[in-house]
């Protein structure tokens, strides 16, 4: 069956392949990968290292990232920030760790010698370091990136991640859930059909996703996890165990780090060996040498591993699935024999391990990035992801009314009608929350906004329609409208305690201060390219489907295009952008009609298609 796809971007063979990169922005390590149409590769730095420790050092003289930052960790600890991902999109009340300070309204920042630094800025610095690897690999430009996030990330955490990319100057095509990315890395290679479970034990978070691959569509059936369970917790358990063995209750921060690092090393070594020795004199003067065996590690970690299995069972139930065809392991801690064993037993499948569990997420992201920049191939796979946590609004008595249930396929638009509680009520506070609990205080508060100007009526007479829109990135936009008056209010949910849009703009401006002229030229070029693409797109569409518009509609659209063409020569980036936006809006009706027509065309072949399938099977 051959249908012209309206969204297809023509890829002429003589045009250079566009560059889309996949980024795994991890709690402990980050990676950037590329797919060249044939092979996947993780981009290394000038020293050949592929994995970048997610650590940034804010020294008085310079900012260093990765290994270099870790090397400075001991001498100046408050200036060295690790695991910033744990703080993304969080507000003060949610974090118990020390070492951060109040910032913005409810936000938090780390106090460094260079002043307060927010988790978003730390992430941006890590992204900049990854970007340098792309330069080093010889890419003179990046057309777009796909950044992975834990499936369990809520809206605020996703928004914070997007902001970090914006700060680093990276064009984000898509935020992709980590387990989905891992499944893509495997699924596209194997070309298999079936149900896949992805068990992702990262440094700081645990995710489980159940996906089905069928007819070129990857459908996430359910996702779940535990955002406070990670491989780092295993390291700490071992560290605590070592300290107990030598009756040490308190130690310096440096020693604590030493114990944690030793715990991690022992955990890794116990993958290969059934018993290892730990030399504690590395950490404390005259510390003894201890022997730790694998059974001890397993006994220590069993409660944590069991917690992950509970999440797996819940996810299977949510997906309505009782058997899976394949199990994919993600994250370094899944190398632990105990993890492999119990996960294999739970799903009754030997877990796949062909791709390095530390790299599989970045590789899946790279494949998706390559696809999204427009390098379409024959075996394109479409991803249908879900929203990980339910979204709702606050209602009477601090209860939550859910509007979008968790595990709903995105994008999604859902509306619900509400009314006023008091006679003569003219305003309505809409409090948007995310989570599975019944009470507002147990859920994540995402945004509050007010719909005002409701005409005074008796309680229960007003009809207020609240619409939730979640895009393919899992990002939320909420609008409210009083039906009788049309009074409307709208909000794009931004983390209220992250960086405000203006703060981001200020930082971007500061970064470009020295290159103001370059910046203007770039903006003009970008605006012109967008405008020309729109003009060409409309012209091509009018050519093929022009009869879908009546003469009046066609005239109006053509007038908008002409106005835009005239604006192009003005050299005013802002004006061109405005005209592009206007012409785009004017073309929406046409675009919608063309889609309606292609539905008919697409489905015309279905019965024939299924017949062929049946004969073939």
């Amino acid at each position: 069956m051959q249908i012209a796809e309206p969204g297809a971007v023509e890829q002429a063979s003589d045009r250079p392949r566009k560059v889309g990169l996949g980024i795994d922005l991890g709690t402990t390590n980050s990676l950037i990968a590329h797919f060249d149409g044939q092979a996947l590769s993780v981009l290394a730095d000038d020293a050949g290292r592929s994995s970048l420790p997610s650590v940034v050092h804010y020294g008085a003289a310079e900012i260093t990232v990765g290994e270099a930052a870790m090397a400075r960790a001991v001498e100046a600890s408050p200036d060295t920030i690790a695991s910033a991902k744990r703080f993304m999109g969080k507000h003060r009340g949610e974090v118990s760790d020390e070492g951060y300070i109040a910032f913005a309204e409810e936000g938090l920042a780390f106090a460094t010698s260079r002043g307060p630094v927010t988790p978003v800025e730390v992430s941006a610095d890590i992204l900049r370091a990854l970007k340098q690897r792309a330069d080093y690999a010889g890419f003179d430009r990046i057309d777009g990136v796909v950044i992975t996030v834990p499936a369990y990330f809520d809206d605020a955490q996703r928004q914070a991640t997007r902001q970090a990319a914006e700060l680093a100057g990276l064009p984000v095509l898509r935020l992709l859930n980590e387990p989905t990315a891992a499944a893509v890395a495997y699924g596209l290679d194997s070309g298999d059909e079936g149900v896949i479970a992805v068990y992702d034990l990262g440094g700081g978070t645990f995710d489980i996703s159940i996906l089905r691959l069928e007819r070129g569509v990857f459908e996430v059936l359910a996702t779940g996890g535990d955002s406070a369970l990670g491989g780092d917790d295993f390291d700490r358990l071992l560290a605590d165990y070592l300290m107990q063995q030598i009756n040490t209750e308190e130690c310096s921060a440096a020693q604590q780090r030493g114990f944690n690092a030793l715990g991690r090393r022992l955990k890794e070594d116990l993958t290969e060996h059934s018993s290892v020795t730990a030399d504690l004199s590395e950490i404390m003067p005259d510390g003894p040498t201890l022997t730790v065996d694998r059974d001890t590690l397993n006994a220590l970690c069993a409660p944590l591993i069991n917690r992950s299995l509970d999440a797996c069972r819940r996810c299977l139930a949510d997906a309505g699935i009782d058997r899976v065809d394949q199990v994919v392991l993600v994250g370094g801690s899944t190398r632990m024999p105990a993890v492999r064993e119990v996960v294999g037993a739970l799903f009754a499948r030997e877990p796949l391990s062909d791709i390095d569990p530390d790299q599989v997420v970045a590789m899946g992201a790279a494949r998706q990035a390559d696809l999204l920049v427009g390098n379409r191939g024959e075996d394109d796979v479409l991803l249908l992801d879900v929203i990980p946590l339910s979204l709702g609004v606050e209602t009477y008595g601090g209860l939550v009314e859910r509007i979008v249930q968790r595990n709903t396929t995105i994008p999604v638009v859902r509306a619900q009608e509400f009314t006023t509680a008091r006679d003569g009520q003219t305003g309505l506070l809409v409090h948007v929350v995310q989570g599975e609990r019944e009470r507002v205080e147990d859920c994540r508060s995402l945004a509050r906004f007010e719909l005002s100007g409701i005409p005074p009526m008796v309680a229960g007479a007003a009809r207020i329609r609240v619409t939730f829109q979640v895009d393919a990135d899992g990002l939320l936009e909420v609008s409210a409208r009083e039906e009788s008056t049309g009074q409307a209010a709208q909000v794009v949910v931004k983390p209220s305690y992250g960086l405000a849009d203006t703060a981001i703009a200020d930082m971007l401006r500061a970064g470009y201060e020295n290159a103001a002229a370059d910046m203007q030229a770039r903006q003009l070029t970008e605006a012109s390219v967008d405008a020309e693409a729109l003009i060409a797109g409309i012209a091509a569409a009018l050519e093929t489907d022009g009869e879908l518009l009546d003469p009046g509609e066609r005239g109006a659209l053509e007038a908008a295009v002409t106005a835009l063409e005239e604006m192009l020569s003005s050299g005013d980036a802002e004006a061109i952008r405005g005209a592009t936006e206007q012409t785009g809006r004017a073309s929406e009706l046409f675009a919608a009609r063309r889609m309606d027509r292609s539905i008919q065309q697409a489905l015309a072949g279905v019965s024939l298609d299924s017949l062929e399938q049946d004969v073939g099977e």
């Binding site: 249908i3 796809e5 309206p6 969204g7 297809a8 971007v9 777009g144 095509l173 898509r174 069928e214 007819r215 569509v217 139930a317 009782d322 999204l372 920049v373 427009g374 394109d380 479409l382 249908l384 609004v393 606050e394 209602t395 009477y396 709903t408 396929t409 995105i410 994008p411 999604v412 638009v413 859902r414 509306a415 619900q416 009608e417 509400f418 009314t419 509680a421 309505l428 229960g460 009809r463 609240v466 895009d471 393919a472 693409a533 729109l534 797109g537 592009t580 936006e581 785009g584 073309s587 929406e588 919608a592 889609m595 292609s598 539905i599 697409a602 489905l603 279905v606 298609d609 299924s610």
Partner: protein, 188 residues
């Protein structure tokens, strides 16, 4: 603070029409899934990543509509509710109306049995749980049959009464103790 009135899907084209399938309660779910995936492969915003913002907006709307339509038509209870709604029946009114006494008694009995199993000290016998699920399923299926008959003859009020019972039973089923892997026939 807001007070909920009624959940509804955004107004849109008829879902049966969207997937170009006959308007009938019995839907070939496999065929529906095939149509859904074919259309998503064409209209998902990912397919428009390089296109104009206007096209991306329209694609996102279309894709969201496909998701909503697929989820609604895929599940029996949701599909039944949707057909009633499309016939002009107010679902929230149906949900507020009291159900008949006999059905109420049957429900209470099933719930009491489930409660007794939960409070029991020893973990209940698998066959006892299965028995409970079977009873609930039988009750569901008789109402499903009643719905199918009524909606086919255009008797929306009767269909509505059967739908409410299907809804109750689907909720009840979620509250029953979980079946082992050798479960009875699944409900949609």
């Amino acid at each position: 603070m807001v007070s909920p009135v009624d959940a509804e899907a955004p107004s849109s084209r008829d879902y049966f029409e969207l997937f170009q399938i006959p308007v009938a309660f019995d839907v070939d779910v496999e065929d529906l899934a095939r149509r859904f995936k074919l259309l998503q492969k064409q209209f998902h915003p990912d397919r428009f990543a390089g296109n104009s913002a206007a096209e991306q907006r329209v694609a996102a709307q279309m894709s969201a509509e496909l998701n909503a339509g697929y989820q609604t038509l895929k599940h029996e209870v949701k599909r039944a509710g949707y057909m009633l709604q499309q016939s002009g029946i107010d679902l929230s009114r149906l949900e507020r109306e009291p159900v008949d006494g006999e059905f109420l008694m049957q429900q209470i009995e099933l719930r009491e049995q489930a409660e007794a199993l939960r409070e029991q000290a020893t973990s209940p016998d698998a066959s006892v749980i299965e028995q409970l699920h079977q009873s609930a399923l039988a009750l569901y299926q008789s109402n499903l049959a009643a719905f199918r008959l009524a909606i086919g003859e255009g008797e929306f009020e009767a269909a509505g009464k059967a739908w409410v019972k299907m809804l109750y039973l689907a909720k009840l089923r979620q509250e029953l103790p979980a079946l082992g892997s050798s479960g009875v026939a699944s409900w949609s």
